[in-house]
Every structure is written in structure tokens, then in C-alpha cells.
């Protein structure tokens, strides 16, 4: 497996405020990393550092290149889609395709046109007059038509309706399986992206609070749906979260207590969202 992203002890500080502190991870071809965290957890700063748009402390290599000093070379293999539309509004679709074909050596304009032909996006349309869903579709088409190895998505489907979300993820999965690629998705919509992820990096106040592959993360936690009468026993197991129901309460516990809890109620596998909410609320 080729290591496409390597970040070692990455920190970012804005004057006195620490945005990201000592974050390390590796991402290989075929992996999809979920970058999860509350607003202000440091996701955008970490993405900015990976894109080379922010200076940082530590070491980052994407496709073996330094994002700050070798940005132009790196951008042949790295792409980014965010919730905020970054496409130039004053351009037409045809103009942006022509520009990209002129400056991006691996951009296949015919492939991009072919991808767009299956949508309602006309070549002569100004980007400003496209809907948000169409803009994301256009941006993804441009990326798919390049030989991108690493794609970073920052809340890509925020504000999109269900149809556009479905189309977006369908195209994304097709693109991902089409080569040796890695994907980083930062999103609040944990349920929406969970099925895509192979790995998770969860941040809280700039620090890593959970990191690992999906299997190991799921193996770390479980939920026990226990009667209220068992509350005192369960409280001794330091539950991460609880959700009271009618007659029973669902407790999120660490896996070390699994054998003890099995006799107390039904054991359920937690979703990533359950774990995310519990960890983000912990100590809050």
C-alpha cells in the first residue's frame, strides 16, 4: 500500500490560541479518513495545513511532497471541495473547464464534458447562476477529470438536498474505486459518511481524542440497554453517555466492561455518531 498522506506532530497556533496540537496520522491508498469534530475543533486548520494554505509546525507530506514548499507540484495530485463554494462565480462552465485544461497537466477536458453531459449543467451557464448542488457537481466533475490521488472534502454536502447528496456520493465512490486513492472527509453529518469511512480521526479543542480504523473503534465501545434498576452498577463502569428511554436506559461503555454488562441488558453495537457525541460531550 502506498502512503499518500503522512502528518507527524502537526500543530497550528494563532497568536495565543492553539488550533491544532500535535496531530499525527498516516493515510494509505484505499483508505477513507473521517475527520470529525465540533465547530472549532481544529478540522479546518488541519485541512488548511494539508493544503499548504496555512503555515504549521510539524511535518506533513502528501504524495511525498511538502504542501507549503511544493504546493504547485502537489496540486496535480491533491484536490479539495468545501461547503463554501470556492469556484469563481463570474466564470462560465466552459471557461473554467478551458482554464483548468490549460494549467492542469492531467486534466481531461473531454472526460469533464462527458461527466457534465449527464447533468443539467450547460457549458454556457455562469457559475453564479448554478444551484449549490450543481456547483458541487461541477467541482467534483473537474476533480474526477484530473488524476487526483488525495481528495479532501470539508462538509461537502452541507446545504444539498437528498438527491444531490446521493448523486454526489455515488460519483465519489466511483471515482474512489477507479484508482489508488485516499479520501479525507470532514463532516458533522457523521451518520451520512459512516458507511464510507475506513478510519477516523476525532478532534476536540485541537487535540486528538479518538483515532483508529473503524473496526477497532467499534470494538472499543458498546451500548447496553439496561433497566433503570441497574443504574448504580453501570455508573461504576464510568459510562461515556446515557440516553434514558421508557423503562430502560442505553449506556455507552468501554469494551473492558462488556462481560460485566452482558448480564445487565441487551448489548448493542454503537454507531459512530453515538461515540462522536459521547466523546465530544465528555467533560463539557
Amino acid at each position: 500500500m502506498t502512503t499518500l498522506v503522512r502528518a507527524a506532530n502537526v500543530s497550528k497556533q494563532y497568536q495565543s490560541e492553539v488550533a491544532v496540537k500535535d496531530i499525527s496520522f498516516e493515510l494509505q491508498a484505499g483508505q477513507v479518513l473521517g475527520l470529525l469534530g465540533h465547530n472549532g475543533a481544529g478540522k479546518s486548520s488541519l485541512i488548511g495545513a494539508l493544503l499548504g494554505s496555512l503555515s504549521y509546525q510539524g511535518e506533513i507530506q502528501v504524495c511525498g511532497l511538502n504542501p507549503v514548499n511544493q504546493r504547485a507540484e502537489l496540486m496535480q495530485h491533491l484536490a479539495y471541495i468545501s461547503d463554501v463554494n470556492v469556484l469563481p462565480q463570474w466564470m462560465t462552465v466552459a471557461q473554467i473547464l478551458r482554464y483548468t485544461s490549460g494549467v492542469h497537466p492531467s486534466f481531461d477536458i473531454n472526460k469533464a464534458k462527458q461527466l457534465l453531459s449527464s447533468t443539467q449543467i450547460a457549458q454556457r451557464t455562469k457559475i453564479s447562476s448554478l444551484s449549490k448542488g450543481m456547483k458541487v457537481q461541477l467541482h467534483l466533475s473537474i476533480i474526477i477529470a484530473t488524476d487526483t490521488k488525495v481528495l479532501i472534502l470539508d462538509e461537502p454536502t452541507l446545504g444539498l438536498d437528498l438527491i444531490y447528496r446521493d448523486t454526489f456520493y455515488r460519483h465519489l465512490i466511483e471515482w474512489f474505486h477507479d484508482g489508488e486513492r485516499a479520501l479525507i472527509i470532514a463532516s458533522h453529518e457523521v451518520n451520512e459518511i459512516e458507511h464510507l469511512l475506513t478510519d477516523v480521526l476525532m478532534l476536540k479543542q485541537g487535540e486528538t481524542v479518538l483515532q483508529g480504523d473503524m473496526d477497532s473503534i467499534h470494538a472499543q465501545y458498546f451500548i447496553v440497554d439496561a433497566q433503570h434498576q441497574h443504574e448504580a452498577i453501570i455508573q461504576q463502569m464510568s459510562p461515556l453517555a446515557s440516553k434514558a428511554g421508557l423503562g430502560s436506559t442505553k449506556w455507552l461503555l468501554e469494551s473492558q466492561y462488556r462481560s460485566q454488562a452482558e448480564s445487565l441488558g441487551e448489548i448493542i453495537n454503537p454507531t459512530l455518531q453515538d461515540i462522536f457525541i459521547a466523546i465530544q460531550k465528555e467533560g463539557a
Binding site: G52, A72, P88, W90, Q95, G102
Partner: protein, 285 residues
């Protein structure tokens, strides 16, 4: 095609005023000139009057050389105005409209981006405005071929060779103007990446530094330097011997301006690269 040509094309598409204003002025000018020369009866009533102040005085002779000089000066002033407005706007616009991340996601180096933007402002815009001069000169030549003695009196002797020479002279003069503007262009590129009103800040900053040096520190050197460098572009436009303007300013001031311009360019590149001004990174390489 080289990527820089696509980048220049993108600048042309983005800043349409660069082509539209000269075209508008050309059509307006041709319309006015056309109405004058076609209505030859009124030629006897035409008189030209110029008002000027201060430093323009030594170059008065240029204005008396006829309509060609007026056209050349007008086109030069338009070119200078468009270049400065463009330089103050180009990075600020990307930042404000949010497209900066898209442009940075393209495999184009910051040095190439700066080079293209400087080339657009200091070479392409003057060349576009030179077409204004060429068209007007060609029109006047055509009119001189087809009209009467009265028109010839107004326009003077002209030929196709004169037209081409005037155009080449204009291009050469504008390249000198661009050389004079280059340090200020680098300053505007740097300032516009962090401030929303770069022109205002640069103008007020220059006046403040002038006043401080003259009245607070009683040191005229800085004020003289700023005055000399800021007056250079207009002096070049109005001078009959543009190279003499460089001699008047002096090599020391010119060298100093270029050193400051180089520093501004390094700062601008650093801001573009790091997303902020990183002093350590500026001097690390």
C-alpha cells in the same frame, strides 16, 4: 499553449474593464474626431487650450505637437489608471469572493501567479491601450488621405510610417512607464492581500511618511524620494525624452525603489504562500 497564456486569458475575462474602457474611449474618440473632420466647415473655429500646473511645465512642448501627442498621453493615462486599479484589485477580489482556494488548488506556483499578474498589468494593459493609439492614428491617417487642406493643417503631415512610428514610440514609452511603476506594483500586490482598500492605504501611507519625514524628523530625503518615484510615470508620459526622466530621478533613488519593490514582492509571495505574513519564512530561504 503555455499555462501562463491561459492565466492571462483568465485575467482578461475577469477584468473586462481592461478591454471595455479602451474600446469605449476608442469609439467615443473616433465618433468625436469623425464628426469634426466630416464637418470641415467648423475646422476654422477649432481651438485647443491646455491648462497645467507645476512639474508639467518643462514638457509643454509635447502638447503642442498635435493631436497625436494628446492621443498618446490620453491612452497612456488610461493604461496607467487601469494598471493601478487592476493591481489593487486582483488579489483582493480573489480573497473577497472566496475563489482564492480554487486558484490555489491549481498546480500553479505563487511565483508564476505573481509574474502573470505583473505581466498583465505592466505589459498586456499597455499593449491593449496601444491599440487605442494605433486605431486613432490610423483613423487620422485615413482622414488625412481623404480630406482637405484644413484637416491637414490641424493634423500636420502624416503617413503610414508615421502611424507605425508613433505606435512603436507609445509602446516603448509605456514599457518605460511600466519599469517605473514596477516597485509600486509589487507594493500594491502585497498590500492588497491583507487590506481591503490598498490604494487608499498606499496613498495615505506615502503622504504620511512624506509629512513625518519633512516636519517631524526634518529629513527631506524620504519626501524627495517619494515625490520623485510617484511623479515618474506621469513625467514619462509627458516627456519628449523619456530616458531623461530616469536621469533626472537619479540611479540611487531608482535602485532604492527597486530594492523596496523586491522586498514587497518577497512579502507578497510569502503572504500568498503561507496565507499570512511569516517573517521567519521570508528570510529562511
Amino acid at each position: 499553449m503555455h499555462p501562463s497564456l491561459f492565466m492571462l486569458e483568465k485575467e482578461l475575462l475577469e477584468h473586462k474593464i481592461v478591454t471595455r474602457l479602451p474600446l469605449f474611449l476608442l469609439l467615443t474618440g473616433l465618433f468625436i474626431l469623425g464628426s469634426i473632420v466630416l464637418n470641415t466647415d467648423s475646422l476654422n473655429n477649432i481651438s485647443l487650450q491646455f491648462n497645467y500646473q507645476g512639474e508639467l511645465a518643462p514638457n509643454t512642448a509635447d502638447f503642442t505637437q498635435g493631436l497625436s501627442s494628446i492621443i498618446s498621453f490620453g491612452a497612456g493615462a488610461v493604461s496607467l489608471l487601469l494598471s493601478i486599479l487592476y493591481l489593487a484589485k486582483t488579489f483582493r477580489k480573489e480573497r473577497q469572493e472566496g475563489s482564492l482556494m480554487f486558484w490555489r488548488s491549481m498546480p500553479v506556483s505563487d511565483a508564476m501567479t505573481h509574474a502573470v499578474k505583473l505581466a498583465f498589468a505592466l505589459i498586456l494593459i499597455p499593449l491593449i491601450c496601444s491599440l487605442l493609439v494605433l486605431s486613432a492614428e490610423l483613423f487620422l491617417w485615413f482622414v488625412s488621405l481623404t480630406n482637405s487642406h484644413d484637416v491637414m493643417q490641424l493634423l500636420g503631415e502624416t503617413s503610414l510610417l508615421c502611424v507605425l512610428l508613433n505606435w512603436l514610440m507609445f509602446v516603448a514609452k509605456m514599457l518605460l512607464v511600466s519599469l517605473a511603476v514596477l516597485p509600486v506594483a509589487c507594493l500594491l500586490l502585497a498590500v492588497s492581500q491583507v487590506i481591503n482598500s490598498p490604494l487608499l492605504v498606499v496613498v495615505i501611507g506615502a503622504y504620511t511618511v512624506k509629512l513625518l519625514s519633512s516636519y517631524v524628523f526634518a529629513f527631506e530625503g524620504v519626501a524627495t524620494f517619494i515625490r520623485a518615484i510617484s511623479a515618474m510615470p506621469i513625467s514619462l508620459l509627458t516627456a519628449s525624452q523619456p530616458l531623461a526622466v530616469f536621469a533626472q530621478v537619479g540611479w540611487f533613488y531608482f535602485l532604492l525603489a527597486y530594492l523596496l519593490g523586491a522586498l514587497c514582492l518577497m512579502v507578497s509571495l510569502s503572504i500568498r504562500k503561507h496565507g499570512e505574513l511569516d517573517i521567519r519564512a521570508l528570510f529562511s530561504r
